[in-house]
């Protein structure tokens, strides 16, 4: 995005210089015809002006239009999320048979055989994990559980009991979350 601001700055500078030159212009005389230089513009008609001033304005307008038309690429950052789920008392969970999902943004995520997960995913620069993902969920036909990402982060920030174990720059570590049996 810094590139965009530089382009806008150059465009603005060109426009200002061009207008200043146009306002304070001198008439240039063609050496061959001894007539003032004429420029014909669509809609505007014929102008007796100087080329450099007009060129400045046109270049400025072009730069601004070009920068505006370019897609804004804010970039993305790689985040790493780790944690685990605990099976309900007396239940044996085969972790690979269930599904680990992050909502509402989809990440590639899978449970390890020991009930832990490590997720890596791209998030737009300047955004927190909690602004993109609101829930981490594990589910199979019998048990289910979820980590309410936003709420747990709020509790962590308020120094309340939270599933967030540590929150670093582009890193979240969650304490084990217990699953619930649905039968």
């Amino acid at each position: 995005m810094a590139d965009g601001w530089i382009m806008y700055g150059l465009a603005g500078l060109s426009l200002v210089l061009g207008f200043v030159a146009l306002l304070g212009q001198k008439i240039y005389i063609d050496s061959q015809t001894n007539q003032p230089t004429e420029v014909e513009l669509p809609l505007v008609g014929k102008l007796k002006t100087n080329y450099p001033a007009l060129a400045f304005v046109l270049v400025g307008a072009f730069l601004a239009a070009y920068t505006w038309s370019k897609p804004r690429d804010l970039g993305e950052e790689q985040w790493t999320i780790t944690g685990s789920f605990l099976p309900p008392a007396g239940e044996n969970v085969v972790w690979e048979q269930g599904t680990l999902v992050l909502l509402p943004k989809a990440f590639d995520a899978a449970m390890a055989p020991n009930g832990t997960f490590q997720i890596t995913g791209s998030i737009p620069k300047g955004k927190r994990f909690e602004e993109v993902v609101t829930s981490i969920m594990y589910t199979n036909g019998k048990v289910s559980g979820q980590i309410n990402v936003s709420e747990e982060y709020r509790k962590y920030g308020a120094h309340e009991t939270s599933l967030v174990k540590s929150a670093g720059d582009k890193l979240r570590e969650y304490s084990p979350a217990t699953l619930v049996v649905y039968e």
Partner: protein
């Protein structure tokens, strides 16, 4: 605008357990956001199930969106609800 019919299904679990299904098709309302009193409390799992914890036991307004339709429900959420309550989402015109 919308009404519900609730069926009780035996279950052995802890917390206030709900399952949302489409009354018309019987399809589970999977992975839909669930709001309790205007606050997002989580998402249903792929079977339309969710374990809801409310601040206080009693009647709460629950909003869910499923297949582009919005449902507003009044549900009794207790702190220690042992049974899974199946909520059939019925659209009224």
């Amino acid at each position: 605008m919308y009404a519900i019919a609730a069926l009780l299904v035996p279950a052995a679990a802890q917390g206030a357990l709900f399952q949302f299904v489409d009354d018309k098709t019987g399809a589970a309302a999977g992975y839909v956001p669930v709001q309790v009193d205007g606050q997002l409390v989580g998402y249903t799992d792929m079977y339309g199930r969710i374990d809801i914890h409310a601040q206080q036991s009693g009647e709460h307004t629950v909003n869910i969106r499923f297949l582009g339709r919005a449902f507003k429900l009044q549900l009794n959420i207790s702190a220690d609800q042992k049974k899974l309550t199946v909520i059939r989402l019925v659209e009224q015109r």
